[in-house]
Each structure stands twice: as C-alpha cells, then as structure tokens.
C-alpha cells in the first residue's frame, strides 16, 4: 500500500502542475496560431495574475472578485503589450521577435519587483484546505480546484474555438489569413484578441497556483518555459495536444522529483524536450505527415 499511496500522491501533484502548465501552454498555442509569434513573455502573465490577485485580497476584495479583476487587469496588460510591441514588430525576423518578447518579460519582471518586491507572497486557498485522504494519499482541495478550473476553462476554450463565430474566425485566420480578410475578418483584431485571451488565461493559471506554491516576481520564467515544452510536445499549433503535453510534463516532473531527485527534474524535463525536438519535432501527437520545421 505504501508504494501505491506514494504513486497516488505523485500523480496528484503531477496533475496539478500539469493543469497549470496546460493553461499557459494553451495561451502559447493560441498566440502562435494567430500571429506566428512564440511569446516568451507568456509566463509573466501568470506571475502578474498571481501577484495582482494577492494585492487585491490584501485590500479586502473578496477572493472571487479579486480573481476576476486580476484576470481583467492582466488581459488589459496583454492588450497593451500586443499593440505596443508585438503589433509594431510583427514583420521582424524570428530572432528579433524572440528578443522583443524576452525584453517585455524582463520589463514585466522589473515592474513586479517595483510593485511587490522580491518576497514570496501567498494567497489563501480558494476554499477550506482540509486534506482529503484517498488511498492513503493526501489530496488538498486547492489541487482539485487547480485541475477542475483548468479542465473547465480548457473545455470552454475548445467550445469557443470550434463552435462560436469569433472562435471560428480566429481559426480561419490561422488556416488562411488572406481568405479570412476577404470574408471580412480582420486578422489584426484577431491578433489583439488572441493575446488578450491568452493573457487572461495565463493570469488565471497564476491565481490558481499562488495558494499552492506562493508567488514571486520571478515565478513566470520557469512556468513559461515548462509550458513551452508542453506546447512543443503538442506540436505548437495543436491545443489539445499541448494540453496532453502539459499533463505529461507535470506528471514526469512530479515523479522525477518524488522518485529520484528534485534537483535533476529540470534535466529530465529538458532532455525530454530535446529528445522530442530531435526525433519528432512536429510534436508527439502529430500524425506522421507534413513537416513544419
């Protein structure tokens, strides 16, 4: 039973991590699909969401309202980011675009130090956090929240992209921007919209993880890079595959940490990334057709 409960425990934390990565990874995919830009500042949206939410709660704003407000605020920041940086530089080379989004993430990190300092801040759990015991493994309600919210949001996004007009317009921009323009869809607006949505979802991911691991100005970088790995495993353009990739990475990390070494978990994760890139760069779940590299 000992082994089984340990496995369960690791699975729980892996799923929680995976849920967070999934939310950020989907943001990557949405922006990449619409604009062709891989946004290295994506993780910072989670950081901003977490810290904004904590500040609002400290101002006695009810938690649920604080979460919503921080999503709105970060989404607005995302919009400004798209207009001022991404949109202005959209015709630059890939290298320049990478550095620009990195520059934005550096600026946002500095801004966070300016506002919140470097101390770890905490957010109370969404609900009473009495541990629940399943098969001798301990499950915290906040973990359930994390996975639950993530799953609900991801389902909503799937619905949005496949069944609503705006969502389908976004998809159309991806498939054929020229035809989309002929149909009266404005790809520029879609780009703005995509970044706003991704920023909002990223912020939500931040508020969800804050009660579990705390929040600091520099939390965005690693969250972002891990979500990246997830998105790559999913082939960068395929949201459901990126989500699967996110859970895979989360579970891989949790098990490496639990069974081997917490220090080496990054080695395992990134070796996995390199392996995928070298062997199957079109993504782990892609059908064996067309190449995109």
């Amino acid at each position: 039973m000992e082994v089984l409960s340990q496995m369960m425990q690791l699975l729980f934390s892996g799923l929680t991590l995976g849920a967070i990565y999934a939310l950020i990874a989907v943001g990557f995919v949405v922006i990449y699909n619409v604009t062709g830009i891989l946004n290295f500042a994506q993780g910072e949206f989670a950081m901003l969401g977490a810290l904004t939410c904590i500040s609002l709660v400290n101002m006695n704003v009810p938690l649920w309202l604080a979460i919503i407000l921080s999503i709105v605020i970060v989404a607005a920041i995302g919009g400004i980011f798209e207009r001022t940086a991404l949109h202005t530089a959209r015709k630059s080379s890939v290298t320049t675009l990478i550095i620009i989004t990195i520059g934005v993430s550096i600026a946002l990190r500095g801004l966070a130090i300016l506002i919140w300092g470097t101390q770890v801040q905490t957010l109370p759990p969404f609900t009473d956090n009495t541990p629940i015991s399943i098969l001798d493994a301990v499950l915290l309600p906040q973990n359930i929240w994390a996975v639950g919210i993530s799953v609900v949001i991801l389902i909503l996004m799937m619905y949005f992209f496949n069944y609503t007009f705006v969502g389908k317009s976004l998809t159309a921009c991806v498939v054929n921007p020229f035809a989309a323009r002929l149909m009266g869809i404005n790809p520029e607006k879609m780009s703005l919209f995509a970044v706003i949505v991704s920023a909002g979802v990223g912020a939500l991911a931040g508020t969800v993880i804050a009660p579990i691991s705390g929040a600091t100005y520099d939390m965005g970088m690693m969250l972002g890079i891990k979500a990246f790995v997830a998105a790559v495993i999913g082939g960068l353009t395929n949201a459901p595959a990126a989500i699967a990739g996110a859970f895979l990475i989360g579970i891989l990390e949790a098990f490496t940490e639990g069974l081997w070494s917490s220090g080496l978990k990054d080695v395992v994760t990134f070796s996995f990334l390199l392996l995928i890139l070298f062997v199957k760069p079109e993504g782990l779940f892609a059908k064996a057709s067309g190449k995109r590299v």
């Binding site: 320049t96 550095i99 130090i113 300016l114 220090g263 590299v293």
Partner: protein
C-alpha cells in the same frame, strides 16, 4: 587587377583595430580607477563571447539561447582542473575549450536540423540542462555553494591579479578574436555563412554544405565562450552556477542584437552598452526610488531593449554606419554607380 581591388569589397585594414586597441590600452595611463578597470574587464569577457555568437547569429542567422553553457563549461573546466587537480591554468583553458568544442559538436548535430523557434527552444533547453548539472554535480562543481579558490593565471612568472593587468589580458584575447573572426567573415567561409542567412535554398544550390557550416561556426563560437568563461574563473577566483543561468545566455544574445548583428564591432559595442547601462541603472535608478529593494532597474532595461529592437532592428553599429555613409555618399567615389542604380531602380525597392 591587383591586391588593392579586394579593398573595394572588404576593409581588411589592420589600422582601425590597432588604433582602437592602442587607445584602449592607453586608458591606464590616464586613470587608475579599479572600478573602471573592473568594468572594462567585464566588457572584455562579454565581448569575447559575443564575437563568437555574432558570427553564429549575425552572419549565419542561427539563434542560440544556450551560450552561457559554454561560458560555464569553460569556467568550470578551469576551476576544477586548476583548483582540484592543480593543472596549469593555460592547459586548463585549452582543455576547457576542447570540451566545449566536443559538446558543441555533439549537441549541434541534431540541433541544427532545427530552425527558428525550435532552434531557440532546443538551445534554451540545452543551456538549462547544463546549468542544472553545474548545480547538481556538487561533488565536482561545489553545487549551489559555488567553487572557491580558483588560482590566478600567470605568464612567465607574472600573476594577473590586479584589475588593470587582467584588463590587458582579456582585451588582448578580444583583439585576436576580432582579427581572426574578421578574417573569416571576409573570406570564402564568411560568404558561405552569410549565404545561409541570405537564402538557405540558394546557398545549398551553390554548393554550401549548410549543416557543416552551421556546425563549424557553432563550435567556434563555443570555443570563444569557453575561453572567456575560463578567463573569468581565474579572474574572480570564485564561481557559482548562477553565473551561467538561461538569463545569461539571453543577455549575450541581447548584447549581440543591440550592438548590431552582422557586425563584429557590434559585439564590443553591445557588451559595453550592456555593462554601462547595467551600472548606470544600478546606481541612479535607486536614487529616484530609494525605498524599493531588488533589481527592479531591469524594468528600464527591458523597455529600452524593446524600443531598440522596434526602432533600430539592425542594432547600434549599423545604424551608426548608415549615418556615416550618408555623409560619405556626398563625395563622388560612388557617384557613377549611384546614378546607374537610380536610373534603373524604378520599382521593387520596398524592403
């Protein structure tokens, strides 16, 4: 046709570099500020890395977000070989460079099959793996606590300990790196590299073995980074893994891009700009906002970087060159060509 005509294409004059370095090496005559020389030495370390990186990124158009790994491999090779095994620092530098070259070759073969974002991610991932290994292989590297007591480097009994002496040492390396790299750029090899950025398909069609070229230049840039890291280790005598995080790689790339990719002098300008900006922001910004702790000045750094890239996508040095050539164009050397061009160029010049 005689040898002079090559000058029409490449300015291979050694005069410019010599004047620059003579002036630089005269600085100790007018100042004895240790602070100044520690700054200039830092610029030298970064410039050496960037000279290599600019051949890779600026000329061949291949991004690397993992060069801190080679900087670190050089530093740790020197630290361990001299500190633990008592080897001569010069031997350690060479062994470090060989290790870096071999690692670059092994990693490069699968990596340079990738392009664009995938290449960026793969090199980023490689950098993080190497960083984590520095941290985790603590029996060899000292782990997060760092590696203490790296002996100073010496030559013919002279120990490079003071900031001023080290300033000379590192910049002599930079001088030769500049000449060596410039010679490469102004040759068959340089054209091969640039053709990759110009058009991969056309480069392939004129017989440039793309993979071979990318690998060669990746290895060369890894060697430069490694030597720089080795020299750093002997300079500071204490290193820890945090010197070689992913952010360091990112900052190297930022220096290259800010200075002007596609220009070797851009690496020095970029490195100098970075160090200068960093010092200025560290000193003056906290005066404006005295109550905040931490490195929040990076907010300005980030904004400046984004603005530079949006409004000067070619970087500082090419921008500067354009200004100069505007003045030069007034002189009639190119006049005939100019008129031919303007007569012919009725369209298609919108780039």
């Amino acid at each position: 046709m005689n040898s002079k005509s090559l000058k029409l294409i490449y300015n291979n004059s050694i005069l410019g570099p010599i004047i620059f370095f003579v002036l630089l090496f005269c600085v100790p005559l007018v100042s004895s500020s240790n602070y100044l020389f520690s700054i200039l030495t830092m610029v030298g370390f970064y410039a050496l890395v960037c000279i290599g990186l600019t051949t890779l990124t600026g000329y061949a158009g291949q991004i690397s977000l993992g060069h801190a790994a080679f900087y670190g491999i050089g530093a740790y090779s020197s630290a361990v070989l001299t500190g633990t095994y008592g080897l001569n620092p010069w031997v350690a530098i060479i062994i470090g460079a060989i290790i870096s070259a071999v690692v670059a070759l092994i990693v490069g073969i699968p990596t340079f099959k990738l392009k664009g974002y995938y290449l960026a991610l793969a090199t980023l991932g490689f950098g993080i793996i190497v960083y984590t290994l520095f941290k985790e292989l603590s029996t060899i590297t000292g782990g997060s606590n760092g590696f203490f007591g790296i002996p100073p480097i010496s030559l013919f009994g002279f120990e490079f300990i003071t900031d001023t002496s080290y300033f000379y040492l590192i910049w002599i390396f930079v001088f030769f790196a500049i000449l060596f790299t410039r010679n490469i750029i102004h040759s068959r090899i340089g054209r091969g590299l640039r053709s990759i950025e110009g058009s991969e398909i056309a480069a392939d069609a004129v017989g440039v073995n793309l993979m071979n070229y990318k690998l060669q230049i990746f290895v060369l840039s890894a060697i430069f980074a490694s030597v720089s890291g080795s020299l750093l280790a002997h300079y500071v005598s204490f290193i820890n893994p945090d010197l070689f995080v992913a952010n360091t790689s990112i900052f190297f790339l930022i220096m290259v891009i800010m200075g002007g990719k596609g220009n070797i002098w851009g690496s020095i300008v970029g490195a100098a700009m970075y160090v200068l900006l960093d010092e200025i922001l560290k000193h003056y910004v906290p005066m404006l906002l005295p109550n905040v702790g931490g490195q929040f000045e990076i907010v300005f750094f980030g904004i400046l970087l984004v603005l530079t890239l949006i409004y000067m996508p070619d970087g500082l040095v090419p921008r500067f060159e354009k200004l100069i050539s505007k003045f030069k164009k007034k002189t009639p050397t190119n006049g005939a060509l100019q008129s031919t061009i303007s007569a012919n160029a009725t369209g298609g010049d919108n780039k």
